[in-house]
Assembly symmetry: C2
């Protein structure tokens, strides 16, 4: 006998009737370098400008989702970080319905390629979604983007969705959470705004892969606790409605920056990359300020990081570190690995000396860095530490990361009515 | 004998040779409601957009200058707030030379109208300038504008300068300090940007007088100590050079706001006035954010005031208070007198309880306000005061004021070689 089950080492699997299918997937966080702010269509989530982001290595942080489709379950259920949430939430449903409508037959392994679940039968299965973020939720770092990207990728695999055109899946993820579409690819990714009313041309596309610029590093600097600031959805609605500058930004400023940034990435020109990244972050926060009432996302610690980066670049004589801030106080720094130690020493010992222990614990204090520390301690740490107030909240965490790949399928398991499992290749 | 001296009650004045002439003048602070940010000509101080401001009552704060022109003095001298400063500073010299070139004969009183100093003789006199700001210099509140307006007005009187066209003196003050030109008039004042290269059409003009809207009040809320922020001259140079949004603001946004604001002032529509004032302040700070590196003028206390005003307006169901911030952290609030008590109670007891004593001392705590206080104290001041931290710096002073008049000549005295004085009417 040469069944699919045997070939995969899954003896016992009959598959006459598939009771459940289980897929586990992880998806990365992405951090915009050209910001998305403002929708032209709230339902389809179509943006008023194109945007670009770096995909963060999933070893540092990611979302993880397991979806189990069961024939015998009575209802769809979902949990996020262990807490029950509503599977019927509008944007989840949009993604679910779009993928269900495009579901294909689930086919077993070669050579038989036996149909295990017919595409018209997927609607008989109930979904159990178990989703979690592998990073502090308090960080407020693009968790909805990675979460929705993960949900979309996981469900797409489960329902055997096949793209009819490149980027189609990203148009579905986009409807779950705009910037989620950018988390479907590794490296640096652009989200093309598109012009069509149905959004079919508003999709994500890889600019360069994660292997293109291996020296690139990403430092996620968590600045204080979660703020009471307005969320990005109502925030951008306010900006679209009231900012006198947003339309000009979207139509005149961003297109040129997209061209500049793409060129800088392809040619690995870090200084241009850094300058455009910082300017675009600042312009996004300028638009927030120009909103009525104004939106404030940066706190004192965020501003300390901004000053620190400009000081550091001045000291180094070039733009060698870039900061960017989304709709929250946390800084993300892009830099090349050759300035990592200098930057960390500057950051940890001049401005955030209370983080010393953390840095050592995390294991990114090298011998050279320890030497620098010693010098700083000798030469005037008291004076330099003088303006750090503990009540500032300050920096609560630093995550050292790099550019990484797109969503990963970790497992794909089919279970028959007798409980026998078939693992499909991932 | 029916001499000029006798007519003015200045017996003994001969005036064959005038040893010195002394003029004392005060000039008001002005607070922009449509902001000036960006020069198209650094030397002539020509702006990239028109602006508008309210003139603050000189009873609350003003600059005061005495200029004594002496024939026997050896050199020009100047002091500011009691400290020697350089009379040869470029912008002071620009004003001085412009007025000296346009000096007229100093003529005694009617009926003789005797020439006391011939216009060609003014250059023989040395100036002693004694200037002071009648408000905390730490406040950083437009002191250069009122100071230069005062210097210009004082010197213009001394040299008997007569305008050839309405606003000519403001074109001279403008070259001393751009926004100084708006301090030459009372009420609400516009500074027309003009289009000519020589700046002859870039002058100030009164929109409505100080009597037009007598209910208007101005609250100057000093937020913390002087900051280390970049000054407005290099700040706006940075914005002109690097902000991608500034030109659009200047060319497309401001002209419409100038029209709206003028109409709102003439028709006394406070809600429009308030909304445009807040939006324009925020847009100015948005431009600062969009500058590379970004300029930050607002601190935590400034933001607390912004939130407080929006909360208060929401509670009141209309835009009844407007905030505005210049290139510093201090808030200026415009409001009508009928909401003054409600606002002060909101400000002092909900958000700044530590200022209670100050408010009583200043004498603007009415019986009604005391009643409100009592209620707040009973109903939960502990809870409300919980988030005030003493190390915030917070609000260090509140000045309650209104719209006032333009520069005032306080005295004009001519002294002959024997020391006899002749007071000219002011």
């Amino acid at each position: 006998m040469s069944s699919a089950a045997e070939q995969k080492g899954n003896e016992g699997f009959k598959g006459a009737k598939v009771e459940s299918v289980r897929v586990t997937c992880t998806a990365p966080v992405n951090i915009a370098i050209i910001k998305y702010w403002g929708k032209r269509d709230e339902t389809l989530i179509l943006p008023i400008n194109s945007s670009m982001s770096g995909t963060i290595d999933q070893g540092s942080m990611c979302s993880k989702t397991t979806i189990t489709a069961s024939l015998s379950a009575k209802e769809h259920t979902m949990s996020l970080n262990g807490e029950r949430v509503d599977f019927n939430a509008k944007r989840l449903q949009t993604v679910f319905k779009a993928l269900l409508a495009r579901a294909e037959d689930l086919v077993g392994p070669l050579p038989e390629k036996r149909v295990l679940v017919k595409k018209e039968d997927w609607k008989l299965y109930k979904m159990n979604v178990d989703s979690a973020n592998d990073f502090p939720t308090a960080a407020g770092l693009a968790s909805s983007a990675s979460g929705l990207a993960c949900f979309t990728s996981c469900l797409a695999r489960l329902l055997n969705f096949k793209e009819k055109f490149k980027g189609e899946l990203s148009t579905i993820a986009r409807q779950g959470s705009g910037s989620a579409c950018r988390s479907l690819y590794g490296g640096f990714v652009t989200w093309k705004m598109g012009v069509k009313d149905d959004g079919v041309d508003s999709f994500a596309e890889q600019v360069v892969s994660q292997d293109h610029w291996p020296e690139m590093r990403v430092l996620i600097v968590v600045c204080g606790r979660g703020s009471k600031a307005i969320g990005s959805t109502p925030g951008m609605q306010g900006s679209v409605k009231t900012s006198a500058l947003l339309e000009y930004r979207a139509e005149k400023v961003v297109p040129e920056r997209m061209r500049l940034m793409k060129k800088a990435l392809i040619e690995k020109q870090f200084e241009t990359f850094a300058e455009v990244t910082m300017r675009d972050s600042n312009q996004f926060h300028a638009i927030c300020m120009d909103t009525h009432p104004p939106l404030r996302y940066l706190n004192e610690t965020s501003w300390r990081i901004i000053s620190l980066v400009h000081e550091f670049n001045k000291k180094m004589g070039r733009e060698c570190v870039a900061y960017t801030f989304d709709a929250g106080p946390h800084a993300v720094l892009y830099l090349l690995d050759d300035v990592m130690e200098d930057l960390l020493s500057h950051l940890l010992y001049y401005h955030l000396p209370q983080q010393h222990g953390l840095a050592e614990e995390k294991g990114f204090v090298s011998d050279r860095l320890k030497l620098i520390t010693k010098e700083v301690e000798i030469n005037g740490s008291d004076k330099l530490n003088g303006d750090i107030k503990p009540e500032d909240n300050g920096v609560s965490q630093i995550i050292v990361s790099k550019i990484g790949d797109g969503p990963r399928i970790l497992q794909h398991v089919v279970v028959d009515e007798d409980g026998n499992e078939l693992s499909l290749s991932v």
